[in-house]
């Protein structure tokens, strides 16, 4: 056994230490070591300090300790670190311990000085969803809370509509931003009283657009759809289950006639396990190429969610999150960041589940973006802010918080923590 060695963890490794447990996750291999022994957790804690920066000296005594030796062996086997004889060099190596740093960190900018939070802030805006109206004759069972779980239409009792001039003003303010998607939703968007005028405006608007509609609302709307400029435009078509297959077939055929098959994306809403195969069969029969399945929590299908949606450890590691992805989850919510939603009641939201951050017609887009960046209630809502995730070593390996956590009223949609 060597006399004295440097034991180190490689800087492409993510370390998480929570409540006596430690995770050593290798971003190159996608493998993780989970350690629970106090001696080893202490050693990992020591390695992860700003004083040691991933490198500690291990003497003969420590290396003779079977627990430590076994841990060193595991780390080496995983290629997550190594043991280097001290005699190979004249001094302690220096590793740049991974620590995410955003030079324009909002919390730092808030402290004052040269920078300010509002600087270049429109760079952060990427997506706007406009619920132009809320009237719909449909009866989808997922209507009640679907839009809170994923981007989909919703219906209201008292008819509401957004003022077209407010919409235009709002979208004009986004011209310098990084906006890469405008979503138009309802109700039934074709029932919007100024739909033709809106299409005329959007046809000239240079950013990409997606029109959302339930498939049944598309029936008989060939002319209206035909007036929409195809350049930079796509369609998201909601399909609830059970599917009225013949009518969906006719809609698909219409879109094909209009040359829009490539730009049409179908969204099937699933509430039961049986529906998965059912929907796959329909998609196959109708030869639909672009479609997704989205689960919907209706208050009574927790078991379905537990079996199909809740993540397990194997899936997390299968995705092999990179160090950059882990960093992004520490500083922001990659799923909600940059997205603004305007509901048909003129309320502006950074997340349909969170508090209003403005009112259309009263607040400018600049104000709203600043407010959300400043407060970070949704755009920067990371798992380390909520229980039980903040006490879990998998915190940053898990996917970011979604609308599902809100609807299920629990943050751990996983089989990792009870």
């Amino acid at each position: 056994m060597k006399k004295s060695s440097w034991f180190y963890l490689d800087p492409y490794v993510h370390i998480a230490i929570k409540q006596g447990h430690a995770l050593v996750y290798n971003t190159l291999t996608g493998q993780a070591l989970k350690e629970d022994s106090p001696v080893i957790v202490d050693l990992i804690k020591k390695l992860n300090t700003k004083k040691h920066l991933l490198v500690v000296e291990l003497g003969e005594e420590e290396l003779n300790n079977p627990e430590i030796a076994a841990f060193v062996g595991r780390v080496r086997h995983h290629f997550s670190g190594d043991l280097i004889d001290k005699s190979y060099s004249g001094g302690k190596p220096l590793l740049m311990r991974p620590q995410v740093k955003v030079q324009k960190d909002v919390e730092e900018l808030k402290k004052g000085g040269e920078g300010y939070v509002g600087e270049e802030i429109m760079n952060y805006l990427t997506e706007i969803a406009l619920y132009i109206d809320n009237s719909c004759t449909g009866e989808c069972s997922s209507c009640a809370g679907g839009y809170r779980q994923f981007l989909s239409c919703t219906r209201g009792h008292t008819p509401e509509e957004l003022e077209i001039e407010d919409i235009k003003r709002f979208l004009n303010e986004a011209q310098g931003s990084s906006l890469f998607k405008v979503n138009i939703l309802g109700g039934d968007i074709f029932a919007y009283s100024k739909f033709t005028e809106l299409v005329g405006y959007l046809n000239k608007y240079s950013k990409p657009k997606t029109f959302h509609s339930h498939y049944l609302h598309l029936e008989g709307r060939e002319e209206e759809i035909g007036r929409i400029d195809r350049a930079f435009t796509s369609f998201s078509i909601l399909v609830d289950v059970p599917v009225k297959e013949d009518r969906l077939a006719r809609v698909a055929a219409m879109l094909a006639r209009l040359g829009l098959s490539q730009d049409a994306h179908y969204l099937f809403v699933i509430q039961k396990e049986e529906e998965i195969d059912e929907v796959e069969a329909v998609a196959s029969r109708l030869k639909l190429t672009h479609y997704t399945l989205k689960p919907f929590y209706n208050g009574n299908n927790l078991a379905f969610f537990k079996d199909n949606v809740f993540v397990n450890k194997a899936e997390l590691l299968l995705l092999k999150p990179s160090l950059k992805q882990i960093f992004s989850r520490m500083k922001l919510n990659p799923l909600s960041f940059g997205k603004i939603t305007v509901l048909s009641n003129r309320g502006i939201y950074a997340n349909a589940n969170a508090k209003k951050i403005g009112v259309l017609g009263r607040d400018s887009l600049y104000d709203v973006v600043l407010r959300e960046m400043f407060n970070g209630g949704s755009w920067r809502r990371s798992r380390d802010r909520v229980a039980p995730c903040k006490s879990c070593v998998y915190c940053y390996l898990c996917p970011p918080l979604t609308g599902y956590e809100y609807s299920l009223k629990r943050n751990n949609l996983c089989n990792l923590v009870d």
């Binding site: 890469f180 997704t292 990659p334």
Partner: protein, 59 residues
């Protein structure tokens, strides 16, 4: 990977975001911070000792 797993759903959304983002474009955030008050030009004198000093003449 189960189709409806939260991990899979999130991954698809993130990939969509990446695909939607405007391709290419010019990087506007980098420059050598040459001036601006009260900062001043970043020098690399330590490296210059290895490579020798450099003077640029007016010609």
């Amino acid at each position: 990977m189960r189709k409806l797993s939260l991990a899979n759903l999130a991954q698809n959304e993130l990939q969509k975001n990446e695909a939607n983002k405007v391709k290419g474009g010019l990087c506007t955030c980098y420059c050598a911070e040459c001036t601006c008050p009260p900062e001043y030009r970043v020098e690399y004198r330590i490296a210059d000792k290895v490579d020798g000093r450099v003077f640029v003449s007016a010609g």
